[in-house]
């Protein structure tokens, strides 16, 4: 059994390493995510920064905008995960070689590192540029970690579903809406709590439950979606 688990982990790691190797040579997702995040960050900070909105309104609006920036940056880059495999016709070689669950986890790990890197770059800049006061920094870190994981997992699953469809862009938006909406509502609520010093209450375990559910759903659905 341990041998099966270790070979499965080696497969997932191989996919993860391959993804980053290809990404470092093309920089498609990195450029897309960084460009979109930077542009929206600058627009928001100019419009709603220290000069644009007073502090009382800022606490209510700024957490929402942070997650909108993260969502749209992710939506600009992550759907390519599986679409590119289909468009460049490498999907057949992957289907013939990889264990579906290991492939899903390798891709998820790659998307997760992208999302976390995005959060690490965007959030401090956003907090500084909008003068957002964070009363509970550790809660904010926890929300970003759990929310980022949910965002990466949901996006990876939707990316796999849309890869073989024709209207990929439209379908990503349509499918992402019901899958990512609960996550975003919770993440915004908890981020708002982190800025106000509210511990978050039941929203934290619900967010973790969402992450666990979307992971199990992804592992169960992916082999069906990926193979005939």
């Amino acid at each position: 059994m341990w041998q099966t688990i270790s070979t499965w982990a080696l497969e997932a790691t191989a996919v993860f390493v391959k993804e980053w190797r290809c990404e470092f040579r093309t920089r498609y997702a990195l450029n897309t995510l960084a460009l979109f995040a930077f542009t929206t960050l600058v627009v928001v900070s100019f419009s709603l920064g220290p000069l644009g909105v007073d502090r009382s309104h800022g606490t209510a609006v700024l957490p929402v905008l942070l997650w909108i920036i993260l969502l749209f940056s992710v939506a600009a880059g992550l759907p390519r995960t599986f679409v590119q495999e289909e468009e460049t016709q490498t999907a057949m070689a992957l289907r013939l070689s990889a264990t579906p669950s290991a492939l899903f986890c390798g891709k998820l790990l790659y998307n997760l590192t992208l999302v976390l890197a995005l959060e690490v770059l965007v959030t401090p800049a956003y907090v500084i540029m909008t003068s957002l006061e964070v009363a509970s920094p550790w809660l904010l870190v926890a929300v970003l970690a759990a929310g980022g994981y949910g965002l990466a997992t949901g996006s990876t699953l939707v990316a796999a579903i849309i890869a073989q469809a024709r209207s990929k862009g439209t379908l990503f938006s349509v499918l992402s809406f019901p899958i990512l909406l609960p996550l975003l509502v919770l993440a915004v609520e908890l981020t708002r709590g982190a800025t106000a010093g509210d511990p978050g209450g039941v929203a934290v375990p619900v967010l973790l439950l969402y992450d666990a559910t979307i992971t199990v759903a992804g592992l169960m659905l992916f082999p069906v979606v990926w193979n005939p």
């Binding site: 191989a14 016709q89 057949m92 070689s97 264990t99 193979n227 005939p228």
Partner: protein
């Protein structure tokens, strides 16, 4: 698309599938490989007495197809090392296959000529020493040395007790052909 297609192939034998464009040769091979689910009919394949379903066949068979592509950003060696890891075979096995095919290890797959890409497909198909080879137009784009190497590899595979199903628009000069399925008839 395919109706009334039937045939068997035993160890050391090759089934040749011929027919004009659009006759269903590639579809048949995809069904055999477990890449497409057939609407009806039966595909029975076993290794060492164990019957394999579509998902198991997919991992075991060696496939060459015109639309089988590799990562353009990775070198030939990196591509085969990646698939060797997924196939759970030592990377040295990939290098051994590549040396037989005379492929430049450090060239990006995206910069390969069509003939070299076909050699890489052969390397991919033979990487995990499959018993069953499913070859869709396996000699296309080859120059004379490339075709000679590929024929030698196929001969060796069959001589070692392997099986092959080869789809080609026209007939092939192979003495191992035990069964000829003409989809154009």
């Amino acid at each position: 698309m395919l109706r009334g297609v039937s045939g068997t192939v035993d160890p050391g034998e090759m089934m040749l599938v011929t027919g004009p464009n659009g006759s269903g040769k590639s579809t048949l091979l995809r069904c055999l490989a477990g890449l497409l689910a057939a609407d009806g009919g039966t595909i029975a394949y076993q290794e060492n007495g164990t019957p394999l379903d579509g998902a198991e066949r997919r991992r075991r068979v060696g496939v060459i197809a015109p639309d089988l592509a590799f990562y353009a950003e990775l070198t030939v060696e990196e591509n085969l090392a990646f698939f060797a890891r997924l196939r759970r075979v030592p990377a040295a096995r990939g290098l051994g296959v590549l040396s037989r095919l005379n492929l430049p290890l450090d060239r990006l797959a995206g910069n390969l000529s069509s003939g070299m890409r076909q050699r890489l497909r052969w390397g991919f198909a033979l990487l995990h020493s499959p018993r069953l080879l499913l070859l869709d137009e396996p000699f296309q784009n080859f120059d004379a040395p490339g075709e000679r190497i590929a024929r030698e590899l196929l001969e060796e595979h069959l001589a070692e007790g392997g099986l092959a199903v080869v789809a080609n628009p026209s007939s092939l000069d192979f003495h191992h052909v035990a069964n000829h399925l003409d989809l154009g008839a």
